[in-house]
């Protein structure tokens, strides 16, 4: 292993000296970090600023002189924010798991069962993902209303898979393709059924792929806006993005402090999930079985 590393880094010796390393590694890294973290800094600083500091034109906008928890208090106790959080969590988790289950079966069938027209089904699923929510929301609104699901969590749980399933299927198809077919042939010879192959061989190998598809699906449904805006109208069923935007902006009055606190709190769970699974996520991007 160490020998391989030596070979790998042989061409990179120009990175060794300290000043060069500063220019080629640390400086770009610092710029990158700055661009990445500045919005979060801005959200944090705004949510702790009292209103008169937020609106005054004097002073330093990048610092807060008298930090206050008033905005956070307003967010947590005067709005239904905890309920929005719970709704978003519930809807995202349930629809992610439902979509992943469906997508595993679909992707495995398309990739390995070799039925007639499998390729076309794969293409059709990809095309289904290309139909954007901003076209689908009107017909879906009509469907949701007819089914009597309007203004319930079920409306969201059942409509999110319309974009999650095609996406996960597409991602998992690519992942399953990278698992050698020979493994399945061995299992078939030993008398395994298709179901046993899927659960005992393919799924354990595909865990990184499943996790990265799951993270993507979770993030997509966490951030989903237009369906949540259209299908839900009462405050206690809203999700975070919709609730924050519709209830903390009153006409022309933006409650910036609470808005930012809501956005910051709302982005923490996703960041947490990402950081927890980041290793799997990376290996999910680079293929499954190392030969």
């Amino acid at each position: 292993m160490s020998q391989e590393q030596a070979v790998d880094t042989a061409g990179m010796s120009y990175l060794e000296s300290a000043p060069r390393k500063l220019v080629t590694v640390y400086l770009p890294l610092a710029i990158f970090l700055f661009v990445l973290l500045f919005p979060f800094y801005w959200m944090g600083i705004t949510s702790f600023k009292p209103n008169n500091e937020l609106l005054s034109r004097e002073g330093n906008p990048f610092w807060v002189i008298e930090p206050t928890l008033a905005h956070v208090k307003k967010l947590l106790f005067d709005t239904s924010y905890p309920e929005w959080m719970w709704n978003t969590m519930l809807v995202s988790v349930v629809s992610t798991f439902a979509s992943l289950t469906a997508a595993v079966l679909a992707a495995y069938a398309i990739e390995r069962l070799r039925f007639k027209g499998a390729r076309h089904v794969g293409l059709a699923i990809f095309l289904a993902y290309l139909v954007p929510p901003s076209i689908l929301f009107i017909p879906l609104a009509s469907v949701v209303f007819q089914l009597g699901l309007f203004d319930t969590r079920w409306a969201l749980i059942l409509t999110y898979p319309t974009f999650l399933i095609p996406f996960c299927t597409w991602l998992l198809m690519g992942y399953f393709r990278s698992i050698p077919y020979e493994l399945e042939e061995c299992a078939l010879i030993d008398g395994a059924t298709r179901w046993q192959i899927l659960t005992r061989i393919i799924l354990p190998l595909a865990v990184p792929g499943l996790i990265s598809a799951g993270i993507f699906a979770f993030t997509l449904s966490w951030n989903e806006f237009i369906y949540a805006l259209t299908f839900v109208s009462s405050s206690e069923i809203k999700t975070i993005p919709v609730g924050v935007v519709t209830e903390l902006v009153e006409g022309d009055v933006y409650h910036w402090g609470s808005l930012m606190a809501g956005a910051l709190l709302g982005s923490l769970p996703v960041a947490f999930v990402y950081s927890f699974f980041v290793e799997y996520y990376v290996s999910g991007m680079t293929g499954s079985v190392k030969e």
Partner: protein, 94 residues
Amino acid sequence: MTLPLLTPIIAVVMTFSVLFTFTDFQLIYVITRGGPLNATHLMATLSFQRAISGGALGEGAAISIAMVPFLLAAIMVSYFGLQRRAWQQGGGDK
């Protein structure tokens, strides 16, 4: 040499970005809601305004459907224009 080999990926990425930029909803809705005086609408936000806020479901649906030809054109361009050429797959010259 690298760029021609990347065409299939570029096709997919381009399709996605064109599609999702064209049909973008939440940025416009969150920042301006299409205002002031409907000056910053995209078709998606306009159809939402007419269909859901305005109650004219049919008019909104018509606006949404009007997006489809553009999307189809975008998909066609990247699908046929950026497909792998025969010579890249080891076929004869074309």
